[in-house]
């Protein structure tokens, strides 16, 4: 059959990236906030609050200062458990679920670059993860200081802010990584669990430089170290806490750099993968 190709003068432009990312992030945020799994994630995030509550009720005079509690929470609960769990739940599904469901077809047939779609979805997931974890930390703060305003000091507030930033950084890096996994794998949950609770735990526990190959190491490396005053109970606890930390710390800037680079690289890689992704439904 004969044909004549259309010759176009100027191709229509895609939607500006900022606008496209903004719209997709906004609607994705609302979508993620309405998902049922958010309820179970919210309940899991009550664990540190319960821990602080228990300390206040049953161990009020055992020397577990707010400083120590906060450092212990971030080091032993948020970083090795809560951040990966929350990031996995929202990150792995951020892109992959839409591809699996087939709903991504509607954004793919708009004048929007796929990189903007990826970035919008990822930003929404990172926002949800950060808000969930931050809410948990804020509730811990409220339980710690309720009726005990004396614990609030400049040092304490600084430590709190620092913990927020560490958790935020962890949420960004882990969510970006899990979003990439969700783009690569049809069923990303198993590889994500193997990574978070297999590889990460294994590598973070190996001394010397091998431990630097885990995100957990770098996040824990950023947590402040309590001053050790031998003799008293807090001193003993601080010693124990320090012993549980990475044995070969690296400079903080190095850990921040690693986390930022991991988040950036996985995001760029995810964008590239989505560019070549095909929809089957």
């Amino acid at each position: 059959m004969s044909e004549t190709e259309i010759i176009q003068a100027a191709p229509p432009a895609p939607l500006p990236n900022r606008s496209a990312v903004g719209w997709i992030a906004w609607f994705s945020l609302r979508e993620m906030a309405r998902r049922r799994r958010l309820v179970s994630l919210g309940l899991i995030n009550l664990l540190p609050v319960l821990a602080v509550l228990m300390v206040r009720i049953w161990l009020p005079d055992k020397g577990l200062t707010a400083h120590l509690q906060l450092m212990g929470l971030s080091h032993d609960m948020f970083i090795p458990f809560l951040i990966p769990v929350v990031a996995m739940a929202v990150g792995a599904s951020a892109i992959g679920e839409q591809i699996e469901e087939g709903t991504i077809v509607y954004t793919w047939t708009r004048p929007v670059r796929r990189s903007a779609i990826y970035l919008g979805r990822l930003l929404a997931a990172q926002g949800v993860a950060t808000v969930l974890l931050s809410l948990s930390l804020a509730m811990c703060f409220l339980v710690m200081v309720a009726g005990n305003l004396g614990v609030i000091s400049w040092e304490f507030l600084k430590l709190y802010l620092q913990t927020f930033l560490i958790i935020g950084l962890g949420a960004f890096a882990y969510t970006a990584l899990f979003a990439l996994m969700g783009t690569v794998f049809k069923k990303p949950v198993l590889p994500a669990i193997l990574f978070a609770f297999g590889y990460e735990k294994l590598v973070a526990g190996i001394p010397a430089r091998v431990q630097e190959l885990s995100l957990q190491f770098h996040l824990q490396n950023l947590v402040s170290r309590p001053e050790v005053v031998p003799g008293d109970i807090p001193g003993v606890l601080a010693t124990l806490l320090n012993q549980a930390r990475p044995r070969d710390p690296v400079p903080s800037w190095q850990s921040v750099l690693v986390l930022v680079v991991v988040a950036a690289l996985t995001t760029v890689l995810g964008m590239q993968l989505l560019q070549h992704k095909e929809i089957e439904k």
Binding site: M1, S2, E3, T4, E5, I6, I7, Q8, P11, P12, A13, P14, L15, A20, W23, I24, F27, R30, E31, R34, R35, E101, G102, T103, V105, Y106, T107, W108, T109, R110, P111, V112, R113, R114, H276, E278, I279, E280, K281
Partner: protein, 316 residues
Amino acid sequence: MSAGLVVAGQEARITALRVGKWFGEVIAVNNCSLSVGSGVVGLLGANGAGKSTLFKMLAGLIEPSHGEVRVLGARLRDRVGWYRNVGFCPESDALPEWMTGREYLSLMLRLMGLDRAETTRRADAWLERFELVDAANRRLGGYSKGMRQKLKLAQALAHDPEVIFLDEPLNGMDPVSRKGAIDLVGEIGRQGKTVLVSSHILPEIEAMTDQIILMDRGRVLAEGSVAEIRDKIPEHPTTVALVSPDPRALAAFLIGREHVEGVRIDDDQRVVVRTDHAVAFYRALPGWVRDHGLAVTEILTLDDSLEAVFQYLTAR
């Protein structure tokens, strides 16, 4: 050839050149070429014929394993700006369940680059057109299959695209909505836009257009109007009804004649002839009538329909 498929000198808005797609060892689409201009063209084929895969390739959702597709002269996958002029209604029923109908349609329009006022105006107009105003603020999770189908159609059409892909758009619609959608597709075609619409239900396609592309087992079997396709296959067995004042005499004469496979008299006293070569039969009939004094007052072709052609072409 009438509107729809491209004739010499006409603009080709959708072109596929020897495209193929395989998933592992399964060949979904095999060496298909087509050219579509303005108007409505039906893509007809049984389930699994490769229609949806071809649609996805044309719409830039999947990359052909070989060959090339272009819409409005561009590869949509590389030039996403062209989606401003393209509407796509997928076969899949998936929609973001948490959104309301209005939110969903508004988002689709905003992502087409429309401003807030225009988005609101068009969303309202299309919700009204598809009688979804009452359900507009309900979540899509509670929509019936027919309502979802209407909303999918609305998102494909609301930005007024030049090229529209509708993959099984009438699935799940009630008869009234179906009629409305068929009329709408016809109306859009008459506006000079290009509509490529797929279905595995023959009467649906027949109701929308007589320009068709027949697909089976991943291949384009034929394209053109039903009559054109029919003419290309003279060896296709055809059933012809002859009206005669003396049907018994006519039937007796026709039995055993060349190209006559079978003869019977139906309930309307018509002589129904099954021929293995319609063209030859039609050529011979006047001579038989004249030379043997037969009386034939009317000739009816009973199976010149799309269904007969389709069944013949896809016979396994």
